[in-house]
């Protein structure tokens, strides 16, 4: 007996395919997150605005099965025209062996969209990184007009249309029950936004990144610095509504760069750190008045500075450290870099620190050190704020 059910409601209640697809995506995300620091170091992300996302191209996760190794020639059964020896599809010119027909050519690629803010939130939570707070001082408090509440009277320009319509709707729904003649909008419905004067702590921040690009800084070291800079910036962004960035690269001289060129900059010249400190000081004075901005300075170098620059660097760094919220120094270089003693720059920063200036130093040997370094800086900075 053939029975054709007219109604089959059960399968509309849930979608197994979508459920398992979402689970797959979740696993992809987890996999992506675990390689995040390296991933982000390769991207040009540092100063992109607001609700930024990164698109990470990923492959479908493969559920492995036991399979025979691919042989040089694969054969199969087909159907149609053609004599033995006839070519059904010509080979590829470039002789590329990857991307075999059907297996990889037809593969669907997809990208995972990750919100940087989410990534950073996740990292901060995962790594239990401390939060920064804006520096609070009278000089940084800005009086400002802020919106607060509504009133039935006010300037036309501050009429809140949405609120007004809501009021009108409410009134009409009551009046319609009483009688047919209902006025669309009355004066009583009007709502105006009110302004009050409030002082708020300044939430502007400027971050100055300085990087030693002399010959002794190799690609790996610069990448480490970049990763560190990226996350330091993210940490600061979490607290400030507006963050401006400055990129300074130096060897014998210092220049300001666009972010896009910053990490590519390279010079074979000697290392004169004071040039970068001076330029940073200049930028701070002209653009980021310390009474209005929280200024952070981060400097990455392998620590080797020209011996004759010691006095100059000391003076300019001292001046800079007095202007900024915090000056951080990361010394790059793996364990392989054997150092019999502290480098000149490490010494300099240590001196500043001993002198009570807001300065911190850290070593950055490998990717794993990035988190430790970030934690050190932020811990110190937030402890100082708490005090």
């Amino acid at each position: 007996m053939i029975r054709i059910a007219a109604e089959t409601p059960w399968y509309d209640l849930f979608s197994r395919g979508a459920r398992d697809w979402l689970r797959h995506n979740q696993k992809v995300r987890e996999a992506v997150k675990s390689t995040l620091p390296e991933l982000l170091a390769n991207e040009n992300l540092i100063s992109q605005p607001g609700n930024r996302t990164v698109l990470v191209p990923v492959k479908f996760l493969e559920h492995a099965r036991l399979r025979l190794a691919e042989s040089a020639e694969q054969s199969g059964a087909g159907q149609g025209e053609g004599k033995p020896g006839d070519v059904l599809r010509p080979g590829r010119e470039d002789g590329e062996s990857s991307g075999r027909g059907g297996t990889e050519n037809g593969e669907i690629k997809f990208v995972v969209e990750l919100k940087i803010d989410e990534i950073v939130d996740w990292l901060w939570e995962e790594l239990k990184l401390p939060e920064l707070k804006p520096r609070r001082s009278a000089t940084l408090d800005e009086p400002d007009w802020t919106r607060e509440g509504w009133d039935k009277r006010g300037a036309r320009s501050r009429l809140d249309r949405r609120k007004t319509i809501k009021e009108a709707v409410k009134r009409r729904s009551i009046q319609e029950k009483l009688g047919p003649d209902v006025v669309p909008i009355t004066n009583d419905d009007l709502r105006f936004r009110q302004l009050v004067k409030r002082t708020t702590p300044a939430t502007n921040a400027a971050v100055i990144f300085a990087l030693d690009v002399s010959g002794s800084m190799d690609e790996a070291q610069r990448r480490l610095a970049k990763t560190f800079f990226f996350f330091a910036l993210q940490g600061i962004r979490r607290q400030y509504t507006k963050v401006e960035t400055v990129f300074i690269a130096h060897a014998g001289e210092a220049w300001e760069f666009e972010e896009s060129q910053f990490f590519q900059a390279q010079s074979s010249g000697g290392t004169v750190s004071s040039s970068a400190f001076k330029l940073a000081l200049d930028v701070t004075r002209t653009r980021y008045d310390p009474s209005r901005y929280n200024v952070y300075f981060f400097y990455a170098s392998d620590g080797e500075n020209a011996a004759e620059d010691r006095a100059g660097a000391s003076a300019s760094l001292g001046a800079l450290a007095r202007q900024v919220n915090y000056a951080g120094y990361v010394e790059t270089g793996g364990i392989a870099t054997f150092r019999p003693r502290e480098t000149q720059l490490a010494e300099l920063f240590a001196e500043m620190r001993a002198g009570g200036l807001p300065v911190g130093t850290s070593r950055l040997g490998s990717q794993e050190d990035v988190w430790r370094t970030i934690r050190e800086f932020f811990k110190e900075e937030s402890r100082k704020q708490a005090a």
Partner: protein, 460 residues
């Protein structure tokens, strides 16, 4: 497009009557008219309700993409059993669904009479759809109890070994005997008597006395064990009950899928033969409906897409249909019924795909080089047969057996590379070993060969 079920129901009843008159015999068929979304899921999962696993999600997206590009249209799915469960797509036209109804009756007849289907039916019972739903529910309970991650790890391993079951064996298997059975002294037969009478042999034949005093503990496994799902479920040290359950559930479903896999060409061909014949003889169908249905039929059984000259795959509907028509024409329906009972695709292709049929169907063997050049290599009949059957050997999976459990519990697997012709894909094999290690909880090693045919051992 959606038709009133009543109209289809009326035709279906008449088709069924006709089918029985023509000699089809089957367990009752329950039809459900289902939306496209369910049909897609059935195509992906193989069953209407099945355990959750992320790998199905990947297949699901691929299927959706193929469907959206028009490469894949699902007409019907039928689950053999008692009753059989068939799903028709609600978006199909009345003509298409009339055709599909006839097609399903062909499948139903095949599933009742084919020996392979019958054996699995007997082992597993007639309601796998319900079993699978119950499995899914038990896995859901396991997820509630121990969390998704842990269940997923077990499913990763079990589903990766899905095809590694012993299709010749039993669904319900007990563990190996714990001790080596004592050798039963055979009664002397006339040969041995004569042999013993030969000069100088009598002393050598007598067994040493006292050897069988203590029973010998049998090695595990006593012979290379190809039923990996069963072996792991039974012998993994420290496997929890719910984990064993999952392995045995995956195994039961895998065994259920085997006849469908091993008889695909025959089964689809048989169903196509019968839908064509039933429609031809169904004089109660209005002419336009008949024409539309026959148009759908020729779309299903054509060897390759129109406008193409060749296809790099063989359409099982076309091939099976062609062979069955030939058998019925030359040997009669009674003989065809015997063939449908006795063969699986291996026998069907080797015994019934003749030179003439292979030529008229334009079957060939092709080869794809590394630079992606594809050439027709031969039209030799034996080569064509083997090329068609190659993907079906050993349930489509490499032959891998468990051969030893070390004293520390480590599991030794061996790949039978000699019969497979080459070694395993090492990267994937390693991943599978990792999956397995998580449930076996002891080292897992697998021997195979590399491209230079040197023995290599992969481990996890």
């Amino acid at each position: 497009m959606t038709q009133a079920p009543s109209e289809l129901e009326a035709y279906a009843a008449q088709i069924e009557e006709l089918a029985q008159r023509l000699g089809l015999d089957y367990y009752p068929v329950d039809f459900e008219v289902a939306p496209a979304s369910l049909m897609t899921e059935i195509a992906v999962y193989g069953l209407p309700i099945r355990m959750p696993h992320w790998s199905f999600g990947v297949r699901y997206i691929h299927q959706l993409v193929r469907q959206s590009m028009g490469h894949s249209k699902i007409f019907e799915v039928m689950f053999p059993g008692d009753p059989c469960r068939a799903f028709l797509m609600d978006a199909n036209s009345l003509a298409e669904n009339t055709l599909v109804t006839a097609h399903v009756l062909g499948h139903a007849d095949f599933a009742k009479h084919n020996q392979l289907f019958a054996r699995f039916h007997e082992m597993a019972g007639g309601n796998i759809v319900e079993h699978a739903a119950a499995h899914a529910q038990r896995i859901q309970q396991a997820i509630q109890a121990v969390g998704l991650e842990r269940v997923e790890l077990v499913l990763d391993a079990a589903l990766a070994l899905e095809s590694h079951v012993d299709v010749g064996g039993e669904l319900h298997r007990s563990r190996y005997p714990e001790f080596v059975p004592e050798k039963v002294l055979q009664k002397e037969n006339s040969f041995q008597k004569k042999f013993g009478q030969l000069p100088g042999t009598a002393e050598k034949l007598s067994l040493p006395v006292g050897m069988n005093a203590a029973p010998l503990r049998a090695a595990v496994p006593p012979h290379p064990e190809y039923d990996l799902l069963w072996f792991i479920a039974q012998y993994a040290p420290e496997l929890e009950q719910w984990e064993r359950d999952i392995f045995l559930m995956v195994r039961a479903e895998s065994l259920y899928f085997y006849p469908v896999f091993a008889c695909q060409i025959m089964n689809e061909g048989w169903a196509s033969y019968w839908h064509a014949r039933l429609l031809r003889e169904a004089d109660f169908l209005p002419q336009p409906l008949y024409l539309a249905a026959i148009k759908a039929h020729s779309d299903v059984v054509r060897p390759f897409a129109s406008g193409r000259e060749a296809s790099l795959s063989v359409n099982p509907y076309h091939l099976g249909f062609t062979i069955w028509e030939h058998i019925v024409e030359t040997h009669g329906l009674a003989r065809a019924m015997e063939v449908r009972r006795d063969e699986d695709d291996f026998g069907f292709i080797r015994n019934w795909l003749g030179r003439e049929l292979a030529e008229t169907s334009g079957l060939f063997v092709y080869e794809e080089k590394q630079d992606q050049e594809i050439r027709v290599t031969t039209r030799d009949l034996d080569a064509v047969r083997e090329a068609i059957l190659a993907p079906k050997f050993n349930y489509g999976a490499p032959r891998v057996a468990a051969v030893e459990m070390k004293s520390d519990g480590a599991l030794e697997l061996v790949h039978d590379h000699a019969s497979d012709g080459r070694g395993l894909d090492a990267a994937r094999a390693r991943k599978v070993l990792e999956y397995v290690r998580r449930v076996w909880r002891r080292p897992v090693r697998l021997r195979t060969v590399n491209e230079r045919r040197e023995t290599i051992e992969l481990a996890a």
